[in-house]
C-alpha cells in the first residue's frame, strides 16, 4: 500500500531537505525541490520494490532532481548573483563550502556531476556509487578522476578539491 505524503515527509523530509540544501545552497529552492521530489516519489511509488531501501531511492531522486534544477540557467545565474552580493556580508565556513560545491557542480560536465555529488557530498565509496548508478567500479574511478580535474579547472585553484 502506498504511504501518504505526510507519512513519507515526516520520516524522510529532513533528510531530503538537507541534501537539497547542500546541493542547491538556497533555502527556498531546497524547500521547493523537496516538495517536488516527494510528489514525484508518490507518483512513482508503484515502481518501488518492497525490499529496496527507501533512503537509497530518495538519495537518487534528490540528486537527479537537484542536478536538473542546477541545470536551469535562470536559477544558475540567480545563484551566482546571490553569491556575489552576499559574500561580503556573510562569510561563514558553511556558506563558503556550499557555494564551492555548487560552483563546481555548475561547471563540471554533466555526466560527471552525479558521481561527484555521491563521492564528495555523500562520502560514498566507489563500490557504493557503482551499485547506485549501475556502473562498474572502474567507470566510477575514471569519472572521479575526470571530475577532479574538471573541478580544479573550474575553480581555478589547485588543491581546492581534496580526494
Amino acid at each position: 500500500m502506498a504511504p501518504s505524503c505526510e507519512e513519507l515527509y515526516s520520516r524522510y523530509g529532513a533528510l531530503v531537505l538537507r541534501r537539497a540544501r547542500a546541493m542547491l545552497g538556497d533555502e527556498q529552492a531546497a524547500r521547493d525541490a523537496a516538495q517536488e521530489i516527494f510528489l514525484k516519489v508518490l507518483r512513482s511509488w508503484a515502481d518501488f520494490r518492497a525490499d529496496a531501501s527507501p533512503v537509497t531511492w530518495l538519495y537518487r531522486a534528490t540528486t537527479n532532481h537537484c542536478l536538473n534544477a542546477l541545470r536551469d540557467s535562470s536559477r544558475r545565474s540567480e545563484a551566482i548573483d546571490q553569491f556575489g552580493s552576499r559574500l561580503d556580508e556573510e562569510v561563514s565556513a558553511g556558506l563558503e563550502e556550499r557555494l564551492t560545491l555548487r560552483a563546481v557542480l555548475e561547471r563540471v560536465p554533466e555526466p560527471l556531476r552525479e558521481i561527484g555529488v555521491y563521492y564528495y557530498l555523500d562520502q560514498l565509496s566507489h563500490e557504493e556509487i557503482a551499485q547506485l548508478t549501475g556502473t562498474s567500479r572502474r567507470t566510477v574511478g575514471n569519472r572521479l578522476v575526470e571530475f577532479h580535474a574538471a573541478a580544479k579547472l573550474a575553480l581555478g585553484r589547485v588543491g581546492k578539491v581534496g580526494a
Binding site: 515526516s10 520520516r11 524522510y12 529532513a14 533528510l15 538537507r18 547542500a22 531501501s53 527507501p54 533512503v55 537509497t56 538519495y59 565556513a93 558553511g94 563558503e96 563550502e97 556550499r98 564551492t100 560545491l101 563546481v104 555521491y118 563521492y119 564528495y120 557530498l121 555523500d122 562520502q123 560514498l124 565509496s125 557504493e128 547506485l132 573541478a151 581546492k160 578539491v161 581534496g162 580526494a163
Partner: protein
Amino acid sequence: MSAAVARCEAGCASNLAMDRWLMGELARTEEGERLEAHVRDCSRCAARLAALRSLNGPVPPRPALEPPPLNVPPPVMPPERAAVLQVAISRDGLPVGTEMFTAGRYTVGSDGACGLVLEGLAPVHAIVSLSGWRVALEAVSGSIVVNGFWVKACELRAIDEVRLGPYTLGVRVIAERWHRPRLELVRGD
C-alpha cells in the same frame, strides 16, 4: 569542497550508510553492526553521524508490532538465535542501571510486582516485550515519549530514546551466549 565535504579515511562509513542506519534500515544487519562498531572507534565518523542525526531531526518511531498476549509463553527460539533485551536506565541524565530480559512481556511501573520496577511512575506504566529480535513498547496507564514523539505503542530500535516520566531508557537486543554442547563419542561394543 573543503571541510564539510572532505572525506573520511578509506573504510569510513558513507552518509548514505549513516542515513540508512539512522532511519532503522540497517537494524540487526551485519552492515549495521559494522557501522556501529566503526563509529565507536572513529571520531570523525562519530562527529559526522552526530551532525546528520541533528540535521535529520527526530525520526518518528515505527508502528507497534502485534504484541503477544500476556500469560502466553513466548515462541521458543533455537538456542543459537535466542536474544536478550538489555535496557539501560538513566534518570535526569544519570545512569541508574541496566536490566536484562529474555523473550516475553514485562510490565514497567512502580508496583513491586512489575517486571521492571521504577519508582515515580504509575503502578503499571507500560509494557515492554521482546519477541525474537524485535522489541515493542506499549503504554498502559502512563505516557511514553519516543524520540520526542508521544506514542501509544511502537517498535523500538537501538537508536531510539524512550522517556517514561523522569526516566530515559535505551534498549538493545543482544544474542545470548550459547555454547554448542560437545558431542560425546559413545563407543558401541
